[in-house]
Every structure is written in C-alpha cells, then in structure tokens.
Amino acid sequence: MNGAADSDARPGWAVITAALAVIVFLQVPVIVVVLAAFSTTSYLTIPPQGLTLAWFGKVLSDPTYLAAIRMSLILACGSTVISLALGVAAAYALYRKALPGAEAITAFLMAPLILPAVVISVALLQYYSLTGLRGSLFGLLMAHVVITVPYIVRSSLASLSGLDLAVEEAARVLGASGLDAFRLVTLPLIQPGLVAGALFAFITSFDNVPVTIFLIGADQTTLPVLMFSSVEMGIDPSVAAVSTLLIVVTGIILLIAERRAGFHRFV
C-alpha cells in the first residue's frame, strides 16, 4: 500500500511519453544538421546518399571561416572578461547593501535583458555612427559587454545571496584586509556560480547575431554572422559542417561544465 500512495505523485505513462516526444523534437534539427554535414548531396535525404568529410575540409581551409572564428573568439573572450570584472564588482556592492536604492540599480543593470536586442543594436548603430566608433573593435566589445553583463550580475547575485555574510566577517576579524577576505573566502565560495555565469556570457557573445550584424565593419565578420549570411545566399553544406563543429564543441563544454560545476543547478 505504501507504493500505491507514493506513486500518486509520480508522472504517469502519458506524461512520460509526451515529454520524451518533445525531447526528441528538441534534438531533431541538431541531428539533421549533423547528417547534412556528412552528406555528399547539398539536399538532405534519408538515408543520406553517400558520406563525406569534404565539407569539413573545405571549412577548415577557408580563410574567411578561420578569420570569422578568430573574431568570434576575440569578442567572446574579451567581453566575458570585461563583463566578469564589472559585473562581479557591481553585484558585490549590491550584495553588501553599500548604497541605498539597490533594487533600482539592479533593475537598471538587468535592463539590457528586457529590451529587445534589435532595439539595442539600432540605438548603438546610430550612436556609433555619430561618435565614429562604428566598425571599431572597442565599440563591438562594449556592445557585447552590454548584452552579456546581465548574466554575470544575475549569477553573481544568486551565488552571493546564498552566502553567510559572517564567513567574510570572520576572515576580517581574523586579520584579513577587505580585499584578502574577498579573494580568499568569498571568491572561492561563489566560483561555481561565476563559472556558470561566465559560460552563459561567453556563449551569448559567441552566438550573437542581432547585435553584431548591425555594428561590424568590413573585416569584422563573426562566425554566426558569416553563417547567417551564407544561408541567406542559399543552402550550403559547409554551413552544416561548421554547425556540426559548433554542436560538438557546445556539447563538450556543457558536459565539462556539468561535471565540474554541476551546471544544471544554475540554469
């Protein structure tokens, strides 16, 4: 009888079937892209007609793609580092309630998440045209900081709020300066949350099209923008090959993050 009472709260078969069907739906385009990347034809058929690695070779020897990958990495790394420095400092000040009006400040720091990306982009487009920042790496970096920093602020605030303030105070009373107490105690304790936040920020920047596409100069094309433009020109299996590479890399990063930091707790 115990079992019967217990099973009442569990999902029934109908729910499980529906859920698994939707999980499959979520993976379908991913599978299709991978299949297309190995297919000899430019149109995908089931079963694929002939397997080839040619598209991968084409992409990895194409200087346009390599430059775009390099640009994307520079932007994603740069904006993540800047966002981390700015975002963690701000979140820490908010957590310690150093200033009045913390709620209003938090709302302002999170505002770039609420505004549609396309609106931020066109605003920056006009602003950069007026200030001469259009086409500059600095302008592009700052635009990416604006769209990534809310993720850092949010994950920092979440990690800090789970922290007993007394732990940092204990370090202070034991003789640590404010900076030492933060470095030796607070930072190690919020690190898992920060790693998750940084990962989010990195991916957000690396994947971004809507902001980047408005602001890049001629030689600043990023990988997703290049793929976006290629698809506009017509279907090209080399896009599938790049996509497959991204799928594999994303999957690996996700698994590492899960292993190392228990990533699922932070999403």
């Binding site: 709260a9 892209v33 000040a93 931020i120 604006v146 996509s243 999403v267």
Partner: protein, 283 residues
Amino acid sequence: MIRARHGLLLLAPLTLVLVAFFLLPVLMMLPTSFREYVPGAGLAPGVWTLENYTRIVTDDYYREVIWRTLGLGLFVTLACLLLGYPIAYLVARGPERWRVPLILLVVFPMMLNLVVRSFGWIALLANHGLVNNLLIQLGLIATPVKLMFNMTGLMIGLTHIYLPFMVLMLVAAIRNVPRDVEAAAATLGSSRLHVFGSVTLPLSMPGILAGSILVFVLTISALVTPRMLGGPTYKVMATLIYDEYMQLLDWPSGSALAFALTLMAIGVIWLSSRLTKRWAGMA
C-alpha cells in the same frame, strides 16, 4: 561593514559603461524617431514630425506586421506551454536519476547557436527539405507543401528555440509546489488528475505566467530565426526594423518601430507584474 565610498567605487565602472553604451544610445534614438526621412538624402533638417509613429497604426502593411508579430508571440507561447509542461513535470516529479540527463537534453539545444538551429529547420522545412522529401517518398503528397516563408515555419522554428526557456521556468515553478500539499489533497480523496488540477496547476501558476511572459517577449523580439525561416519578404517587427535600417536606411521610421517594439515588450512585462501582485494579494 562596507562603506558607501567603496560601494560607489565598485558600482561606478559598470554603471558608467551601461550609461554610455546602453542608456545614452537608446535615449539619443528618441529624437531621431521624430525626424523626417528623405529618401536618398537622409534626415530633413529642422523638420519634426509624429508621422513615423502615426504610420505604424495607420499603414496597412505595418499593421499587418504588428498583428503577425503579436499573433506569433501568442501562438509560440501557447505551444511552448503545452509542449513544455510534460517535460517540466517529468523533471520536477519524475525519478531522481532522470533529472540531470533530462535537463541537459533541454539545455543543450538552448546553448546551441541560433543560426545552427534555424539552419537545421531550413534543412527540414525547405521545399526540397527532409520533411517534404519524406512525404513525397511516402506518396502522401505529390508536390512539396510550403512549410517555410510563412507562419507555419516561423511557429515551428521559434517554438523549438524558446521551448527550453519555458521548460526551465516551469521546472522551478513545479518544484516550488510543496509535495505535502499534493499529498494532503490525495489523502483527502482526490484522484491523481484532480490533485494536478486543483493543487499543482494553480500553485505553479506564477511560474507559468513568468515563463509565458519570457517566451512572448523573446518571440516578438526575435530577429535571426524569423529572418532565416521567413526570408526577406515574410516580415515580423524585428526583421522590419532590420530592413528599415540596413536596406532602406530610413532611421526615423526604424527607430519609431524600435520604440513601438520596446513599448510592447515592457507593456507585457508590466501587465504581468500587476497580475502577479494581484494574485499574491489573494493568497
């Protein structure tokens, strides 16, 4: 004890960056939306007009795009709710050992590049795409069905893209429903379905609302997927703004549309927070 001076020092850099690269640019766009655009020449000097805004409500084409955007938002939100609730319920209430793999399977597509995912749907939905080929091979249809460059394609693609967000919000909401309350309803003689309908569903309502708002706002703001699956002609607001700026160079009209889109997004968020407060008041 951390002094106000230190707090200011810590907050100032980010605040300044956001003022310089977010607040100021958005505010500077406001005057542009009241200027007149002369094709080929740019802004008409010294002319101020409301026309960019009135056109949004009066022009048939703009109105169609706006209704299409809102309709899309509504459809995608409902689809995400219906498809997302079973997964969320399974993650929240299913066997413990399924939880992490399920979450990872939901998060994985979410982490994946938008262009990659949209590209996948193109490969599936195009006239010579996988779905049409399969249907023709099976003899169900003779000529390809139009699945892209219309509402169907956009709905499928955007639902796929925003479903993970909905699932994560719903998981949090369902896990917030105390199991004791469900158990109490069950001991009072409720069937499993009745427990769900009378306890779980109402108590997860705030999360359902939050997830719906998130998906709705993301959908009406989306640019990449509508562009890739809708093509250059089947437009929504974000792609319309993109074209006004990048193809037509009509910044005044584009900025007015941008503010209209912002207003819609913020309006929906405001409305939902009012609703949430009212619900909190009832409880």
